[in-house]
């Protein structure tokens, strides 16, 4: 993992000066809400940028010599990159609010919280030339645009898959029931993602298995539906060996055989790189993520931040980064740079497929599925439920 370096006082001062000279509002760094519009032109690069991202999003070749899209960026722009990886959106939210990061790669369950907490700045997509190449169905979506204002640019999207050890789970599972109703046959070796957002996976399973609950959207659960999901997860808890949020922890548990079945990201399967560890998409569907590169409201290096956004939106970089992580890239052109078959495997640009993934959202009291007769449970309810489930 790459540590963040402490910025020198001189650097901060220089950044502040550049900031006030070059930008009218400095990416929303001001105290006054009304004055935090997006900048209309960019100034000189500040010489550094700090990035908060999912593992595998900002690679400088130190983890894998073939995965390096930072070195070129540093050479071209003169912006030295420091980055920190996080394991859950909740962790990222806290880190982002500390104000130490200029750029944040955020999933859909984080973006709106960032906007609501005024931690994200409005982004002028005209200053990101590569934005034009992005698939239209990823633009101006509810998780990256609020009141017609863009708060970031799309990165890529993917699914939370079911990973299994084929030595133990002999037949390819077709349903999530291997981790829920039939989980007891792998007692102590089931794993699950350690975040309240995992409740949505249980809700999605219930959508198929218990239609009488009438769940329309796994992120819009009223109290009764949440209680059903919690009950299912409490039953699952008896079979769970360990929960994971650190992707290396899951990788090690699958390598040794301490975990044999559970939810995962493609990048983890790639890291493990063993023939007996496979991934699959069960019939109930999958939850997933649709990620956005955001600029922090208190960004100290907004010009380098814009430079990074444009760099990561570049089809070639985007192809590298999304292929490394195992998710669909954000543009048609990226497919030209990716390995053969990659875009087909991940259904890049296939809007119908993308529609089937339940992208992570922040549950709020106003039901996301449009119901008005009930109040839905919000994320704090989910957080509380999650601590109870773990017991």
């Amino acid at each position: 993992m790459i540590p963040t370096t402490r910025r020198g006082r001189v650097g901060a001062l220089a950044a502040a000066v550049t900031c006030s000279l070059a930008l009218a509002a400095c990416g929303g760094g001001g105290d006054d809400d009304a004055a935090t519009g997006a900048p209309t032109k960019l100034g000189k690069n500040e010489g550094q940028v700090s990035i908060l991202a999912w593992p595998g999003y900002v690679e400088d070749g130190s983890n894998d010599p073939d995965a390096d899209w930072v070195t070129d960026f540093e050479k071209e722009t003169g912006c030295k990159v420091t980055s920190k990886v996080y394991g859950t959106s909740d962790e990222a939210f806290n880190l982002a609010k500390s104000g130490d990061y200029d750029v944040v790669a955020a999933s859909g369950d984080l973006t709106l919280r960032m906007v609501a907490a005024k931690a994200a700045a409005e982004v002028n997509t005209d200053l990101v030339p590569n934005y034009a190449k992005v698939f239209d169905f990823l633009k101006d979506q509810e998780w990256n645009t609020v009141d017609g204002k863009n708060y970031g640019v799309p990165h890529g999207y993917g699914a939370n898959l079911l990973m299994y050890n084929s030595d133990v789970v002999k037949d390819e599972p077709t349903s999530w029931d291997v981790v829920f109703d039939k989980g007891s046959q792998y007692k102590g070796k089931v794993t699950a993602y350690d975040s309240p957002i995992y409740i949505a996976d249980a809700a999605m399973y219930l959508m198929a298995k218990q239609p009488e609950l009438k769940i329309e959207n796994p992120y819009a659960l009223d109290e009764k539906q949440l209680a059903a999901a919690v009950k299912l997860l409490k039953e699952q808890r008896a079979n769970v060996g360990e929960y994971w949020s650190d992707y290396l922890k899951e990788a090690s548990a699958f390598k040794t055989g301490d975990s044999v079945v559970g939810t995962t990201w493609q990048v983890i399967a790639n890291t493990i790189d063993q023939d007996n560890v496979k991934t699959t998409v069960p019939e109930e569907g999958v939850t997933g993520w649709n990620d956005t590169w955001m600029i922090a409201a208190k960004a100290k290096h907004p010009n380098c931040a814009y430079a990074w956004l444009n760099h990561i939106e570049d089809p070639k970089t985007n192809a590298q980064a999304t292929e490394y992580f195992g998710e669909s890239p954000n543009s048609e052109e990226a497919c030209e740079y990716a390995s053969e078959g990659f875009c087909e495997t991940y259904h890049a640009g296939d809007e119908a497929y993308s529609d089937k993934i339940w992208y992570w959202r922040t549950p709020i009291a106003k039901c996301l599925d449009g119901r008005t007769d009930v109040e839905c449970t919000d994320y704090s309810d989910w957080t509380k439920a999650w601590t109870e489930i773990k017991g």
Binding site: D90, G188, T256, G257, D258, Y379, S380, T383, G391
Partner: protein, 305 residues
């Protein structure tokens, strides 16, 4: 106490020397002020680091958090404390944590007593030095390295499995047993050292006298050694008990799906972004430790720390 007399040398009319001399003659006649000045620096430090931090924790526990934006609302409310006191989840986790801490302490004391006795009373001076080094060496390795070492030892097909399999047994796997083993291993030196120091202070002559008067080894240990050693044992137990009570890292690494109090604090700070609730939960181990310290104060154990 005799008062030193003020210097009588004739002072130069100017310069820092004169000021210093005047100050020292001023202080020389006021012992209380002298003491106050001497203690003010460390006391300020103590107050800032311990008392203010504890007070801040208590105050934070009275705040609340806006669920969606995560902003802290500084209005005072007892909700967090009430939640921690009444929800069954916190009771379960507190009991689990107490159980683990107690078990770790018992195991550590049981292992430390014979080792400390051998080191202090049986081993030659040379062997004793080597043993002290051997006890201290593990403290040089990082906590994380040791916890991850246990993770790989206890894993499926790991060393423990490999040793136990011929006997038809298996590694306990990740869970509370693994947590107890790991913690007992990590805190053992902290228990051995105070007991060793206490054992050294038990005069050999008393043991010989007990033997001369016909006491068996068991009686000697029970009636002579243990009463003298009790404060040292309690001192050691304070370390293992309090350190286990606050631990959350090794639970994360080898504890499987289990949580302890430290994990609840950690998830509330990290994942749930609920600092006030985390502060309220953090008060639980503090209260337990205060109770424990108050109980052991009478044994004189605190003089052995």
């Amino acid at each position: 106490m005799t008062q030193p007399t003020a210097p009588t040398a004739t002072a130069p009319s100017s310069g820092t020397g004169a000021v210093a001399r005047r100050a020292s003659s001023f202080l020389a006649t006021r012992p209380r002020l002298r003491l106050g000045l001497l203690l003010s620096a460390p006391l300020t430090w103590l107050v800032l680091v311990y008392v203010v931090a504890l007070a801040a924790l208590l105050v934070t526990a009275l705040w609340s958090v806006d669920a969606f934006t995560g902003e802290i609302d500084r209005g005072l409310t007892l909700d967090n404390l009430r939640e921690v006191a009444t929800e069954s989840l916190y009771r379960t986790v507190t009991l689990r944590t107490l159980g683990v801490a107690a078990l770790v302490t018992v195991i550590d004391v049981a292992i430390a007593l014979p080792i400390a006795f051998y080191m202090a009373k049986v081993a030659s001076p040379r062997a004793r030095r080597l043993l002290v080094v051997a006890v201290l060496t593990p403290l040089w390795a990082s906590y994380l390295v040791k916890a991850f070492a246990w993770r790989s030892l206890l894993s499926e097909g790991g060393l423990v499995d490999w040793v136990l399999n011929p006997f038809g047994a298996h590694s306990p796997g990740y869970g509370l047993t693994a947590v107890v083993m790991t913690q007992a291993y990590i805190w053992l030196p902290y228990v051995i050292l105070p007991i060793f120091a206490g054992m050294e202070r038990v005069p050999d002559s008393l043991l010989e006298a007990a033997g001369d008067l016909g006491a068996s080894a068991g009686t000697t240990v029970r009636t002579v050694v243990m009463p003298l050693l009790l404060p040292a044992v309690v001192a050691g137990s304070i370390f293992s008990f309090s350190l286990t009570l606050g631990d959350y890292i090794s639970v994360n690494i080898v504890g499987g799906a289990n949580q302890m109090l430290g994990n609840l604090v950690y998830t509330n700070v990290g994942a749930a972004n609920n600092l006030p609730l985390a502060a309220a939960i953090a008060l639980v181990p503090i209260v337990i430790m205060l109770g424990y310290l108050a109980a052991v104060r009478r044994t004189g154990a605190l003089d052995n720390l």
